[in-house]
Amino acid sequence: MGLTKEQLLARLQELQIVFSQYEHPVVLTVEAQDKKQRFYIVSALAETKVDLKVLSQRLGLGKGGLRMAPEEALAEILQVPLGCVTPFALVNDSARNVSLLLDQGFKSQECCFFHPLSNDMSIALNARDLDKFLNSIGKTPAYVDLEANPTVGKDQPPDLANLVPSDAAVLAVPVEKQGSSQGSEKIHISVNNQQNAVTGYICRMHHNDTFRPKLSSRNLLFVHCCDGQSMVLMCIVDLSLASKAVKPSNASSTKEKSSGAASSSISYADTDKFVEEILEKTKSIVLSEIKEENAEKYREQLATLVSNNISKLGVELKNIATIFKNTAYTEGFKAGIHHQPKRT
């Protein structure tokens, strides 16, 4: 279980971070993920326009590499309830591989509002103190000009590449390619406060737009933003959705949950994935060696060179094969102990 709000507040006090508490309507932070199941929290001021497509390039993930993370990831990795993504969720060990991108605009604000792991309250602290907290949990705060759109190309490496987590988070429910219902352009958020439940809808927007929340219902994904004065809702949308027509609401918003007890072991003994990974690694070696310069340099030896490099891959492939075998064997064992002999 993740930390409770009370535990977090206690920890901040321990670190002697001064903060004020305000009870008020929900505000959330965006959680995004890339194709390799790496997760990012992007926290921004109200006025800041965040473009996931640009961020994706700046992180070195290519043009469409970043999209909103699904509900299960929220629950599992950040361990916060729906509607409550916050940089503070990084205190949980399950979130240790999540990368945090903070709007550099926070630094110029006297203070910003965040959720302390629950969305019926917000606390205001200034960026220095947020840093203090993040440092205490071993995270380095990364302030980014979220609106910047630098060219990323051969000679200009992606400027945020160092913010990509070094490894993927592992989910109990492996997140497969999202079906179209997943990519619902209507981002539903729930806004709750103690007085009444206000629900609003956020319409999908084109990446150049900012949009205004209107109504929402039980939500799929997150939201967020904060500024010095008030809690404002803002949302960022996956660009790939830009061209799709707006879809109708709730039916599509219930995610297809993978069949109940899908455990991570299943993905590790997945023959398709296993073979694909081997092929991908081999291909990348071949492709990286077969270049015009090398063809000149090595000529007839190029084949040998490539072949040698592929052999070096052997160690890594043996490791993943061992994981595969062990997982398969374990599943057999599990099946065996649960076996009920047929009644005659």
């Binding site: 070094s166 991570s264 061992t322 075998k325 062990n326 102990i337």
Partner: protein, 371 residues
Amino acid sequence: MEQKTQEEDQIVTPWEVAAEKGGKIDYDKLIDKFGCQRLDQSLIDRVARLTGRPPHVFLRRGVFFAHRDFSDVLDAYERGEKFYLYTGRGPSSEALHLGHLVPFMFTKYLQDAFKVPLVIQLTDDEKCMWKNLTVEESQRLARENAKDIIACGFDVSRTFIFSDFDYVGGSFYKNMVRIAKCVTYNKAAPSFPSSFPHLFSGKDSLRCLIPCAIDQDPYFRMTRDVAPRLGYHKPALIESSFFPALQGETGKMSASDPNSAIYVTDSAKDIKNKVNRYAFSGGQDSIENHRKYGANLEVDIPVKYLGFFLDDDAELEHIRTEYGAGRMLTGEVKKRLIEVLTELVERHRRARAAVTDESYACMMGSRHAPL
């Protein structure tokens, strides 16, 4: 006659390791003092021949450098008599560092190369007593450590992992008592195949090979003394030198100083930071001096670590030559080390992610291990 005082001698016991004042551990002296034997090149070549694959990097680099009766084990193996491996861990802290991984990495190689079964003991009961942990906490630590151990890539179909709390009883306990009647020491039981009737039933003459760090030699010497009295083969040992701490070769790594070691949970950034900041360098204090005199390879930690983890002999030799001559700088060596360690830790983490409670249950399950 010259008397050497106690303090001047190096101290190597299972509880404490310290070099002679200002120096480093003298392994030749150790071998003499303990009475075990050097693992020489002919033995290494023999291993390569018998297993049909190149010897493990730890053998090539002299990390595992001493043994007792390893040649007997190889003789028996050549005659078609298999053996089993035994290694263990006292689960006292959650984090495993690279020094802990070394014996497990070598054991995995032995298992793969010789295709033999392995038993892994988690001495949670001992830790519970000596470190004043609750029973439940020791068991929990044992389970967590087990997952890291399993992530080293042991063959689940040939590995039996057990925690003392869960397993001790039956034949194992009977052996413990038999041994206790001879000597007060409980780590001996797993060295005897009759302790594992569900794995080795009827194979009382099966030999046991124990990879361990050389400071464990005194423990196992006791076991070896007891064995003939109980009618068993003496367990064979294959022993490693110590994995040096990041800050230098003055002793072993310590779990109480996080900067003395690289942990399997360290991020790429942590590794980079720790190596750059804390790895003891044998380079000279200025670039001019360095180019003139070269690096002191005897004390340089990055080069030593590369000796453990960089598989490519040619590349290591190149680095040692260039760095020793002063043509390569400490920064470059550290950079290469960071790459190697990051890849290692990354691979481990990935494997670790695949280990579930079921994998642990599977390896703990009482079932026959095919020999």
